[in-house]
């Protein structure tokens, strides 16, 4: 019951943030001076190849889609209403493709890189950090400086170096893209085997950096825990070190877990930029192209997705923390 209340509170909070995020997402692009549709249509016209009548149609289409002739609050409601139907609007850059369609093509690639990278990086990084803290000495120093270095390498910088060394110089893995020319995405062993070779480099670029960050955090948490009273008491009771280590790990892990929620935004961004380096056909590359074409509907959809991913990740972390940390349950009810 206590837990349900806690989760309910977190859910309400997440919804409040979501509404604010939606408003920002809606309002900020509308701050462009002048009528955005005029600007866009002007751009399409400047690109050439589109006739006057067609331009008129495009202009009409977007005016209607955005409801620009209506007051702002109505525009917002239209925006929300469309979102609820899964309708992100129509792309400026690749008119008349729908944004949902473009996103649908790109999203799976981004998830394929980021989800495994985040999980693997978190687990391995924490194990490494804990090891450094327990072993001390040169293991600690080596692991710490190494981790600190990797955690401070911008993910895309590591991606560039890996791409150059492994793919260009050594020629072990393909240089860019997500699958070989002539292949079509399908659920087959051949395709999977081919796609994996393209997957490795962006994956490792993200994982290594994340491992570094987690290891640094875990190490300082564990060093802190090592000096705590319960470790001393366990020792005085002759409890095996292997058992005490598990106590320490559990306690040091909690802030790391919360930290995962906080660092998720940086990770996602890092992952999107890595896609650019490898021309990986995910959201990052889509965003890059959209920015180049001032394709606001696509940009807006992607920023909204990033926000959603971060909010969902944080909510999940909060809920899981509630399950792991007994004090949260107690603190909520005042039960003592």
């Amino acid at each position: 019951m206590v837990l349900a209340k806690y989760i309910g509170r977190k859910l309400a909070w997440t919804l409040v943030v979501l509404v604010v995020a939606l408003m920002l997402n809606f309002l900020l692009p509308r701050l462009i001076p002048g009528n955005p549709v005029d600007a866009i249509v002007g751009q399409i016209a400047a690109g050439g190849g589109t006739g006057g009548e067609q331009l008129e149609q495009i202009h009409e289409h977007f005016m209607q889609e955005f409801g620009l002739d209506k007051p702002l609050w109505q525009q917002f409601l239209i925006y929300i209403g469309n979102l609820l139907h899964g309708d992100f609007g129509t792309s400026f850059g690749q008119y008349p493709a729908s944004v949902s369609h473009l996103i649908g093509q790109a999203l799976p690639w981004s998830i394929a890189i980021q989800l495994p990278a985040i999980i693997v990086g978190w687990v391995v990084g924490n194990m490494l950090g804990a090891l450094a803290a327990f072993k001390g000495g040169w293991v600690d120093r080596g692991a710490f400086v190494g981790s600190l270095f990797f955690s401070s390498v911008p993910p895309f910088a590591l991606a560039i170096i890996l791409l150059f060394v492994v793919a260009v110089q050594m020629g072990i893995l393909p240089v860019g893209g997500a699958y070989s020319f002539g292949m079509t995405p399908e659920l087959s062993v051949t395709f999977f085997g081919d796609a994996v070779t393209y997957f490795w480099l962006p994956f490792w670029s993200l994982v290594l950096v994340f491992i570094g960050g987690q290891a640094v955090g875990m190490r300082s948490m564990a060093v802190y825990e090592l000096g705590s009273d319960y470790v001393n008491y366990n020792r005085g009771l002759g409890v095996r070190d292997a058992m005490t280590v598990r106590y320490i790990f559990r306690n040091a892990m909690l802030p790391q877990f919360t930290g995962l929620g906080l660092s998720i935004a940086a990770l996602i961004t890092g992952g999107l930029i890595i896609e650019l380096v490898f021309s990986y056909p995910g959201l990052g590359t889509l965003l890059f192209n959209a920015i180049g074409q001032n394709d606001y509907p696509v940009i807006q959809a992607i920023t909204l997705l990033i926000t959603l991913a971060v909010l969902i990740a944080n909510f999940t972390v909060d809920v899981l923390t509630g399950f792991i940390d007994p004090r949260i349950r107690a603190a909520q009810s005042g039960e003592r």
Partner: protein
């Protein structure tokens, strides 16, 4: 009754990089079967350091340069690189820590710790068996069995300290080293805890206690004998009554006269105080009564 513990010539030094600090300087302590030895002294006198050496948990930067511990005829070297078997801790000598507040990991239930303590010393013990034994001990000593299922934050201060006391003595250690176990408690909880300790001693759960505190009134109620430490040495030792009524060493006199107790005779004694770093005190001969 015979001698239970004989700690000889203990010297404990903190290696601080620059200057070494001698915290315990060639101290020997004997504890009889069934005795509660009160260890008194001001902060920095070395009593906590001595306690941690005897409870076998000295850790860098504290180094035991010399000393040995004899319990039941078994002699354990403490000095230098001597390895103390892990199973001595908890089973032969156990500790009751200063302030039980953080002594149990906040994310573990009491029963987790109980089981881990038991199986660290007895690989074959099953979970049920371990918990049954613990439950029996807990109810015998008048605590509700449900503390086993609690997380530390769910217990009040007094309750937690009593629970920790029971965990410390689960393995029936010969000696329990209690370091300021009562200092964080209110008076009624102090009383309950002390009664419990004495009851445990009577039941032979442990055979002797070293009770470290700067709280002299508490010491008067619990200790059989009192040893007073000053600047890393035991300056005086004797039966509690005599130590309180007729202290010999000037430092003991100063320490005892600093006590406020609602008893008529104390009204006549003037608090004299002393300069805290009077080296001449240190040169006064140690007065040890047996």
């Amino acid at each position: 009754m015979g001698t239970l513990v004989d700690a000889r010539n203990i010297r404990g030094v903190y290696y601080t990089g620059g200057k070494d600090v001698v915290a315990v300087d060639d101290v020997s302590v004997k504890i009889e079967e069934g005795e509660v030895l009160g260890l008194a002294g001001e902060s920095g006198s070395g009593k906590t350091t001595l306690g941690s050496i005897i409870s076998l948990i000295a850790r860098p930067p504290l180094h035991v340069e010399q000393g040995s511990l004899e319990i039941d005829g078994k002699v354990q070297e403490l000095g230098g690189d001597a390895k103390v078997p892990r199973t001595w801790r908890g089973a032969v000598v156990s500790m009751l820590p200063q302030g039980a507040m953080n002594s149990i990991s906040p994310t573990k239930r009491i029963r987790h710790l109980v089981y881990d303590v038991m199986r660290s010393h007895d690989r074959k013990v099953s979970k049920d068996e371990a918990l049954d034994r613990a439950r029996e001990r807990i109810t015998t000593l008048g605590l509700p069995a449900r503390v086993l299922d609690a997380y530390p934050h769910q217990l009040s201060g007094g309750m937690k300290q009593r629970t920790v006391t029971i965990i410390s003595t689960l393995l029936n250690p010969r000696l329990l080293v209690a370091d300021e176990p009562t200092s964080a408690l209110d008076v009624s909880s102090q009383k309950i805890l002390i009664e419990m300790l004495l009851e445990m001693l009577e039941k032979k759960i442990m055979s002797g206690v070293i009770f470290i505190t700067h709280d002299l009134p508490v010491l008067r109620t619990v200790a059989t004998n009192i040893a007073v430490m000053y600047e890393g040495r035991v300056v005086e030792r004797g039966p509690t009554e005599r130590m309180v009524d007729d202290p010999q060493h000037p430092y003991t006199q100063a320490l005892m006269s600093s006590v406020l107790a609602p008893e008529p005779k104390y009204r006549k004694i003037r608090i004299e105080g002393m300069s805290s770093f009077d080296r001449s005190l240190f040169d006064a001969p140690a007065v040890i009564h047996r």
